[in-house]
Symmetry: C3
């Protein structure tokens, strides 16, 4: 939800390095789907599968791939190299993030030693601990609890009821959705004679710039050292990241994936939903792991597409699945062999 | 937890269209299990498996299926067509939901433009945004954050620390358990040269009447358009519903199930726990999906019972599992065949 | 995060019943990893795999197993029977839990009938309901909501935004991490003609002493009776415990595991992450269940190590997996058999 703005087609094309065909002066106020677009709205044509829908679209402006051969005739066209990316950038321009006037709400509780930028917004009921710092233009929504010595960078949006435990560090332009929990104790115990003793969990968490984290995702502090989420990485809802994990830059992890302690995920990996990682696994740069995969402790996942429990290269997974699918047939073949062999034995015996 | 009331057996029977045998004037104050019931308590006998327990029960009143042939002799019996359903209705009568006097707590923060019904209860620390509306007799518990332009219907119970992002719509008689998060941004990005750009997430969420949603469940807003949870649907704890999903009426989804973007689940489907749905899947009316199943993107799940990863009809799943279970035997058979064939070859060569 | 203290090696050795070699008067201020330790720091040598790292370590003091034969020469050594356990105990001494001065924050909302110990700390925005009780030296952090008639014992730490529904009981020395939700309604409905009726959820939850529960874990109240988490049990983040479960003492359950209604887990069981339990299952004392396992409703899991979906003894699981892995070879063998048999048949026919 955000306030809509208004731009000319020419102005939008400029934002995305696009070429205008048709009426560049047309005013655009909203983004829309191809099938629901109308006057003063812009939609995008991802690829040739959508040409028919694009021809039927009533959107005033369409974003189309250069030299696509689509033969469309809306009032205006913006030609670009990547229509979906251009649509995203134009969508952001038309729907800028919610702005809040800088303020500290009267119901917020700030430690005397907390250092909050003058341009920050601190919502109702927010708590900020001793020696914590909040950067310029950062927006902290209602009910957020920020512990002692936490550092939150500039340009961040911290949605309601997020909890940042003592000492964690949040970079710039980070978005934390509602209920995110960063810096709770890692899950480590040592069995003694009488039960479990807590292994020390005195490390921290570092979230780098441009990270976005989905609702209710939990990232535990390191036992010693730090748990890290690298620059530009995106985590979906209800992901669990255990203590001492090191997640690289531009990694994407879908909802409900669980990552045990001391896992390393290198830059640019793509991880599906509900994946489970055993501890001390390493995912190499360029690896793609399908949803619901299970990775055994200590495993190294090399570049390529991986699938299954336990995880294996997708091609191998498919091959084994095909073998399993042919089991009834294999069984039938063995039965026939037995019968034929018995016949032959009988014939031979008679012979 | 709720205040208990007191009813006569006759009055309770009336509520559930039941027939009384024995002392209809007996006062009932509590529901109980068969084995723990006592004076002034009512228990139910689900079916013949519980006849022995019912004969031993000390509960003053038993709810029994009509013409069940149970031969029970507690002080009172209520005969009905569905004892478990009758017990539920009687339990609700004896344990009405907690009532709060209409009030707006002094520590709540309401926008001037918020429209809160006079009969609503707004608890401590609640925040309600601009142009938001809260209906009659709705109870908003402590720490709930309601964004701008949110609509909450009448007769709802919103438990502590729920977050409703800007613009979402909640119907009437909806129950949202603690920590539910509705309307966070969907998980959509477009890869550009420098990393990921956020795909616009400017749609909304509509929760229809009589829906109940378990603790910490997250339902993301649509990219464009809306994510919908249909009337009478029940979601368990920590379910993830992605952007643009359309969940029908009277659907039941157990805990920790994850639903990717643009999934359609038609009316009356039943979904187990920890199920994972790839995007753009469709579950047809009458489908039942077992716990931990995995559904590949784009799959259509037809009526019937489904199981496994990837999901398949239960009968097929069982058949394949049986084939796998017989693998050691199959292998043994192949070994024997090889031996016998070798013997025969040898004999033949000698011959 | 906590204030560090300072102890002599002799004093630390005393805490863990250890024997000092070298400079017992040396001051130790911090725990560290072997490879990062330095002056005034103590590290531990878990076993012989770490002897080389221990020889390179610059930590002032090493905790080593008695008679390990490690041949190390740091400034000080503490010899003990279990180095990791000793390190945990020393780590706790050097990093005592955060202390808060007893206080009730001015923004907290306490019912007149609530009974809060004089030595308790009640943070900003906390709500405590009617007839609720909070024990001595318990620390309730910001944004926690405690319902009516809840009992919280002494020495507990309740992290921000935890929700305790009406009537639940929390023992002594319990740690609840941020966002934990205890006592939400169990997931039980009865299908009637018009849709689902809520089955009564009027029982409670009992959390015994020394339990630690990870961020966002949800434990539902019983329908009737109680859901129980036994003494000394440790739950990781985002675990779901359904209504009427009975979890024993010193049980360990890793992140994102889901436990359906009426499951019994006996003392000392160890459960991996993302495991799913069908209702009415029973896990016996001494059972260990691997991550991502699936347990069918009603199953009894006996002592030993279990794995897979559906769960089976690990040895069995490995055996079946090996059989599946050899399927391509088996198929090849069957092909060969067919060819040889055909050849033999042909020869025989000619003969």
């Amino acid at each position: 939800m955000s306030d809509s703005r208004k731009f000319s087609v020419n102005k939008l094309a400029e934002l995305v390095d696009g070429t205008v065909k048709g009426d560049g002066a047309l005013a655009i106020v909203r983004i829309a789907n191809l099938d629901q677009g109308g006057d003063n709205e812009v939609a995008y044509v991802e690829n040739e599968k959508f040409f028919a829908a694009a021809r039927d679209s009533k959107a005033s402006c369409l974003i189309v791939k250069k030299a696509s051969g689509a033969e469309l005739s809306p009032p205006a066209i913006i030609e670009v190299s990547n229509p979906k990316l251009a649509f995203s950038i134009i969508g952001a321009a038309l729907n800028p993030p919610k702005q809040r006037e800088p303020a500290i709400h009267s119901t917020a509780t700030l430690a005397d030693t907390a250092d909050v930028a003058l341009t920050a917004y601190i919502g109702p009921g927010v708590c900020i601990g001793d020696y914590a710092a909040v950067g310029a233009s950062t927006r902290i929504e209602a009910g957020v609890v920020i512990g002692d010595q936490v550092r939150v960078g500039s340009g961040c949006v911290i949605h309601p009821n997020v909890v940042l435990y003592d000492g964690v560090t949040i970079g710039n332009n980070v978005i934390l959705h509602a209920g995110v929990c960063i810096g709770a104790d890692g899950f480590g115990y040592v069995r003694g004679g009488m039960g479990y003793h807590k292994f020390p969990q005195i490390g921290t968490v570092v979230i780098e710039d441009e990270v976005e984290i989905g609702a209710h995702t939990c990232i535990d502090r390191a036992a010693l050292g730090r748990t890290r989420i690298g620059r530009g990485t995106k985590l979906d809802n209800m992901v669990h990241v255990g203590h001492n994990c090191d997640i690289g830059e531009r990694v994407v992890i879908a909802a409900q994936t669980g990552i045990s302690g001391s896992v390393v995920i290198e830059d640019d990996a793509v991880i599906g939903g509900q994946v489970g990682f055993g501890d001390h696994t390493r995912v190499q740069k360029g690896a793609i792991i399908g949803s619901k995969a299970g990775i055994l402790p200590g495993k190294i996942v090399r570049p390529g597409v991986w699938w299954g429990i336990p995880v294996q290269p997708l091609a191998e997974y498919k091959r084994m699945n095909a073998h399993i699918g042919r089991l009834p047939q294999l069984r039938e073949e063995v039965k026939q062999l037995k019968r034929k062999l018995a016949e032959l034995e009988e014939k031979f015996a008679k012979d």
